[in-house]
Structure formats: C-alpha cells, structure tokens
C-alpha cells in the first residue's frame, strides 16, 4: 500500500508539464485517444464506454454478475411513470421533448440562445419550471428516475458533442472545462487528470483508477456506495471532495463546462446508461 502511494506521489511530483498550448478540441481528442491507445493497447476503442471495467478484469466479472439483475431497474420504471404522468397543466415531458424519451445523445450541447452549455438535467428542470412544476434537485432523488429512463431509452446512441464554430462562447466554455480538468485543487493537490489520465489503471487503496474516456456515457449510475442512482454532477462533487476541495454547485457553470469538455472526449462511443458501479 505504502509502495503504491509512494509511486503515485513520485509520479505526480516528477511528471513534466508543458506550457499552455492552444489546441483545438479535435487536437485534444486525438491526443487523448493516442494516450489511451498507448497506455492500453489491447483495449478495443468501443469498450471505453464501460468505464473502469474496460481495464479492471476482476471488477468487470463482478460488474457483469451485477448486471444480470441490474440494481437501477426500479429507477427506470419510476422514470417511465414520470415521463407518462401529465403535469398539473395537462402537459408532460413529451411536450418539452417531442423526440423523447431517447434524447440523451443530444446532451450536453451548446445553447446559443442562452449562451451556455445545456445539460440534460438542466433541460429537464427547465421543462418542469416552464410548466409550473417544482424543479428537481440535481444530485439525489427523483431526477435520477427520469434520467435513468431517458438514458435507458437512449442506449446505443453515439456521443457526438459539437463545439460550434459560429459562436466563440462555445469554445470558451469548452476551454474553461479543459482548464478545470487540468487544475490542481484541494488539500491533496490533485487535478482530475492526475487520476484519470496520468495514473489511470493504477490502484488507490482498493480502487482501480478508471479512464476519463467513456466516463460520462453511463450516467446516471447506481453506485453500491450510494445505495441508489446518482447524477454525473453528484459524482463530480464526490471527486472534488475526495481530493479535499470544496465542491462546486451541481449544474453550475463550472461543472456544466467540465461536462462539455469531458463528454467531447467520449465522442464516438455508445451511450450505455444507466450504469452500475461500486
């Protein structure tokens, strides 16, 4: 254990950092793909949407056993009921999302009108508020039901986050997400990249550090640790807390931009939410 921690610390301390480089989102994506291809040459590209189970053989066996009786199923059913139950004004989710419920592949996207990254949970709450309903909390509770149902119905859609060139604010949001990803924070002085790029595949305590590529494809996830389904921004909160940094607000600008950047790195992978994780 000590050895692992020391190795991690040494790697982190000795890792070289280049200077700021102006790279396009496409160049970033290519660099990430190259990195993971070199790090895990035997992992097929399309398997990255299985998160850490792409590289953790024993964990994968356990996960596949869990998937025989998926713990997230009741949440999908509850979400289906939400989708089909009209609001007090007689309208429903399908009025907000006429192409639904299989719409997860459209998120996150740049919303030119509001000048911000639009995520699926935010769109769900916008729908509720526009129809006089109370918005849902962004980390725990019923939002996970509707998200589970939408994710399940969207399985097989391919991630295709675009950074539109006709609005410089979109690239700005992407760059802010990138900056967040590589910024050291918290008492442990870690960035997201330290765990999910630089030391990916290594073991911290009992957990294998999963690749960033494919992270957002399977949300929301049922985590055994939570005993329930939780959102991507709940997981971001947990990550920040784990490095002992004060987390940001779920669906605030910081995490939305981070989601925009991170999901772009999963472009080309199939959506496979909701997922089950430890």
């Amino acid at each position: 254990m000590k050895k692992i921690l020391l190795t991690c610390a040494a790697l982190i301390l000795t890792a070289g950092f280049g200077t700021a480089t102006a790279s396009t989102p496409e160049e970033d994506k290519a660099a990430w793909d190259r990195f993971y291809q070199q790090r895990f040459p035997n992992v097929p590209e399309e398997d990255y949407n299985n998160g850490v189970y792409t590289i953790d053989k024993v964990g994968r066996e356990n996960w596949e056993a869990i998937e025989e009786f998926p713990p997230y199923e009741p949440f999908i059913d509850a979400g289906r009921e939400m989708w089909e139950t009209p609001f007090a004004n007689g309208k429903g989710y399908r009025d907000c999302f006429p192409n639904g419920p299989a719409i997860a592949g459209n998120y996150p996207h740049w919303d030119k009108e509001t000048g911000m990254v639009m995520t699926l949970p935010l769109a769900v709450n916008n729908c509720l508020e526009a129809n006089g309903e109370k918005p849902l909390k962004y980390k725990k509770g019923p939002i996970n039901n509707i998200l589970s149902y939408i994710a399940f119905e969207s399985r097989g859609q391919v991630v295709n986050v675009e950074i539109p060139g006709d609005d410089p604010r979109a690239l700005e949001a992407y760059e802010e997400g990138k900056k967040f990803y590589f910024t050291r924070r918290g008492q442990l002085n870690f960035s997201c990249a330290h765990c999910h790029l630089q030391t990916v595949g290594m073991v911290l305590r009992t957990e294998t550090l999963g690749p960033a590529k494919g992270h957002p494809t399977h949300f929301p996830v049922y985590r055994s640790k939570w005993g329930t389904v939780g959102t991507l921004h709940r997981r971001f909160t947990g990550c920040n807390k784990q490095v002992r940094a004060k987390p940001f607000k779920a669906q605030g600008k910081e995490y939305r931009n981070l989601e925009y950047f991170l999901t772009h790195k999963s472009n080309g992978l199939e959506l496979n939410g909701p997922g089950a994780r430890k």
């Binding site: 890792a15 070289g16 950092f17 280049g18 200077t19 700021a20 480089t21 790279s23 160049e27 290519a30 660099a31 990430w32 190259r34 990195f35 760059e175 990138k178 900056k179 590589f182 910024t183 050291r184 924070r185 918290g186 008492q187 002085n189 990249a193 790029l197 630089q198 920040n240 807390k241 002992r244 940094a245 004060k246 987390p247 940001f248 910081e254």
Partner: protein, 113 residues
Amino acid sequence: MQKRSIISTLLLALLLALGSTALLADSHGGADPRAGQVEQAINDAEAAREKAGSVDGEWRDTAKMIESARKALAAGEYDKAMKLAREAHQQGVLGYEQAMSQQELRIPSYLKY
C-alpha cells in the same frame, strides 16, 4: 487594641471584596485574554478562507474547522479553538496560493499533440 481590630477587619473585608470580584470576572470569561486572541485568530481564518474562495481555491474542510473553532471558543476550550483556527487559516492561505499557481492552463507532457 480596638483600633487595630477595626483596621484588620476593614482590610479583611477589602481583600474579600477584591477576591470575589476577580472570581466573578473570571467566571464570566471576560477577563481571559485568550478569548480575544482566539476570536482574532478565527477572524483571520475566515478572511483567509474567503480569499481562497474568491479564486475557487477553497478546500473542503476549512469552513468546518472554523465552525468547530467557534464552538470550542463558546465552550471556553481556548487551546482547541486556537489550534483549529490556525489550521483553518493555514488552509485558506495555501488554498489561495494553490489557485493562483494554477491560473495558467498547462497541458501535461504525456499528452502528445
């Protein structure tokens, strides 16, 4: 003899009055100079926390430490409160320095462009 006795009684009364005043002051905590020092340390920690927060550099436990320090101060546990306040102050200072050191995006060299 009587004069001496009167003087002794008066002196004794004066000493008793002074002693009880000191005891009363002590029991109300107002005279302990440490209380003011701890309060100042907590204020310094809070200022450092806010400064770190202003650049998104606040750490997870700093606010909790300050809250615990305030509770310890209220309970008269000055040593505990001072220790917490100093630690929180240090966290605030380091959080700010960390955030300032990260102002520029630096792409790690292991990512090949």
